[in-house]
Symmetry: C2
Subunit: 149 residues, 2 copies
């Protein structure tokens, strides 16, 4: 099948398919006489594998490694456990920081309940006040990245 059909079958953009091929994830397929790519079911399964791993937020370079493991059934798979553990840790860390963020935003949201002009906006006041505290060098540094990963 041609690339459009593959895309339809896997629910993936043709441009994404070409991207994966260029990235080395998806093997380059045979070409027909007019230069069009020609795919079989093996490519469809490979593409589905990639998309499934992406759904698990696994970075492309790690998906690459998993694909290599499939190619080499006798390789040691300790790294696969590690990979999933790493993903799990990342997800948990993000959950934690997002919960803190939700809490803060909710609190901030509670500061303004009705339309009025900017000078009376509780949200703005709070943001400015927070910045003022942070800009006071005797209070140390607020590390924003830590919170919002």
């Amino acid at each position: 099948m041609r690339i459009g059909e593959l895309g339809q079958a896997a629910g993936v953009d043709v441009e994404t398919i070409r991207f994966y091929e260029k990235s080395g994830l998806l093997p380059a397929p045979a070409r027909s006489q007019n230069g069009y790519r020609t795919y079989g079911s093996m490519h469809l399964e490979c593409l589905a594998f990639i998309r499934h791993c992406r759904a698990l937020d696994i970075p492309l370079n790690e998906v690459q490694r998993l694909l290599e493991f499939i190619e080499q059934p006798n390789a040691d798979c300790g790294d696969i456990d590690q990979l999933i553990d790493t993903q799990l840790a990342k997800v948990r860390a993000r959950l934690k920081s997002l919960k803190a963020l939700e809490k803060q935003l909710s609190s901030l949201r509670g500061r303004c309940g009705a339309n009025h002009i900017a000078s009376e906006c509780g949200i703005l006041h709070e943001l400015v006040a927070a910045a003022h505290k942070e800009a006071c060098v005797c209070h140390g540094h607020f590390e924003p990245r830590t919170l919002a990963t």
Copy 2:
């Protein structure tokens, strides 16, 4: 103070500071004779404001708008509520999808508890099996993006 001092005071990279100036968020400061930037406390507060909003995952274009509101105290601030609401909704959606992701990864992790070769890896088997199901066109499409936002 010079850019390095400002960066130290706010806990921000000098390159990020230049980036913010270029992006129009941070006003361009005066320059000394040698071309070095010269900052005062107003810049420090502005920078702290930006970083605080970033910590709340507010996109830079929205931070820009908030800064404009501060400049125009008589402007209507209905949009600020909207902005925080939008952020809250985004955070909640992400929390939801990450929880589902954590659940899936935990389940997947449970499939492999000890070191063995790749052909015996429960994780790999599960990933391949999932891809096989997905690659079967009669089962419809699995939309990965929906899950992993």
